[in-house]
Amino acid sequence: MQTEQLTTLITSWVPSQQPGVSKQYPEFILPADQVHFVAQSLKAHPETKMDYLFCLTANDRKDGFHVVYHLTSTVYHHVVVLKVILPDKENPSVPTVSDIWRSAEYFEREVYDLFGIRFENHPDLRRLFLEDDWVGFPLRKDYKDSFTLER
């Protein structure tokens, strides 16, 4: 599906969507409470069939945490990027999509481990790489610990 058609489709679901910065793939910025609905619809819609989530990650920006979803279809091979901006850096939280794609379950655990973003309704939200008693979230820009190399 072409970018224009995707834009029309997603705007019909979420009128408040914003176009993203990516020039490579069509990208849409969505409100946090809409992402689960849009993800589910993109997977179910016969013309998009986004059945494969190949990357889910986050980044720490000035305007908040960005949660980025890279989706593709194994039938049509078109890619779409969804983005959610979480301005609340103290207590960031977004609904899980692990009930739609199982791969998201582990991506979300990784994001929770390294960024501290909570995924609501996640079946097993624990730290993945670090120990359970680790203090802080290392990939946040303001993260400091006793052995950080200052630059």
Binding site: L53, T57, V68, T74, L139
Partner: protein
């Protein structure tokens, strides 16, 4: 002392983090009923080095060196992924010579990786001989790498803008010799293991993965293609010299351990075909672009490549500085690991070893 036997009770046992068949520091928490596995919980993080965080403090040519240490058996391909992503962001294109050499190195890496996997897989199942045969042939590829790049395992040869240096004058001759040599040796692999009755009994019908599960969990590479999931990035989003050559995607539909094994054996033949199309046609040209500074402009960039184990994604968020604001590696092994509970539940412990061997996990790539 009387020992009370409790055969009907479940018990929990740890496999790893130091266990020969986990191929690295990975721990499986197994729940067993007798010898049968009820469930497997993988615990990772034993070799987490924070490569993504380190990348935020390094320039692009510097951070290429860290990517070797993720999936160390696909070092060239990891370097290539970063190089392609940075080049895409700067909107520059390398010369055809660089593209050809990159693809030849990548395909050699793929063969070397599959050879080591084949060696270790045989050993997992109790066939020691495969290790000697596999490493004998892998040595030839490492010698080619050593001659041209100066290193055998962590080469860091492919860099944003081109290559670290030109390849050795012998390079093409030796690759051509290797293709001839390995075409003779590859049938031995089939004679030793593929046709072996014990091996077939151990692998056929074990750990069946459906295509839907492969897509749902994001299992890519030969493991996913063994279930009929068409996920070869060389076909979907061709990069470097792949558009110039004929690439045949190997897929099987059975989805069991034996199918994943066969896909890798067939991929070695396929890689030889690709190498044959490239090795005599390497054009002349510059090996490094003349760039003032290697900086990704402000924006977000994503590059997908096919490593020996599946889809590697490099995601760069840049503010325009010399180092990225955020670097994410979508590593293939990370996504391939977590299906193991679904595959191994209900099988014996020895089958779990066969299944985890057939997924071809490299642990530093999971943890990064």
């Amino acid at each position: 002392m009387d020992i009370e036997l409790k055969e009907k009770e479940e018990y929990i046992i740890n496999m790893g983090p130091q266990h020969p068949s986990t191929h690295g520091v990975l721990r499986f928490e197994l729940c067993l009923l007798g010898e049968q596995v009820k469930y497997v919980i993988p615990h990772c993080g034993y070799i987490h080095r924070g490569i993504e965080k380190m990348c935020e403090h390094l320039t692009y040519p510097q951070l290429v060196h860290l990517t070797d240490r993720m999936d160390y058996l696909s070092a060239h391909i990891n370097n290539e992924a970063v190089a392609l992503c940075v080049e895409k962001s700067m909107n520059v294109e390398v010369s055809d010579r660089v593209k050809y050499i990159r693809t030849i190195l990548s395909e050699l890496t793929r063969i070397a990786s599959h050879q080591l996997w084949w060696s270790a897989f045989g050993m997992d199942l109790g066939a020691l001989t495969t290790f000697f045969y596999g490493l004998r042939d892998r040595e030839k590829i490492l010698d080619i790498f050593e001659e041209s790049t100066g290193s055998r395992l962590t080469q860091s040869f492919i860099t944003p803008g081109g290559l670290m240096g030109d390849v050795h004058p012998n390079f093409q001759k030796r690759v051509a010799e290797f293709i001839k040599y390995f075409r003779k040796k590859l049938p031995e692999y089939d004679q030793l293991l593929t046709g072996n009755v014990i091996f077939r009994e151990r692998t056929k019908g074990i750990g069946i993965m459906s295509k839907e599960d492969a897509i749902d969990y994001g299992v890519t590479g030969p493991s996913g293609r063994g279930s009929g999931f068409h996920c070869d990035i060389r076909k979907i989003e061709p990069y470097s010299a792949y558009p110039f050559v004929e690439v045949n995607e190997v897929t099987l539909t059975e989805g069991d351990t034996y199918a994943r094994y066969l896909v890798r054996i067939k991929e070695m033949w396929e890689s030889l075909n690709i190498l044959e199309q490239l090795v005599d046609n390497v054009p002349a040209g510059p090996i490094m672009l003349e760039l003032k500074a290697i900086k990704a402009p402000k924006g977000e960039y994503y590059q997908r490549v096919e490593t020996a184990r599946g889809e590697l994604g490099v995601y760069i968020v840049s503010d325009g500085g010399p180092s990225p604001a955020r670097m994410k590696f979508r590593s293939p092994n990370f996504s391939n690991l977590f299906i193991i509970n679904k595959l191994a539940a209900g099988h014996k412990i020895a089958d779990l070893v066969a299944i985890s061997g057939s997924l071809d996990l490299v642990i530093p790539d999971i943890d990064r």
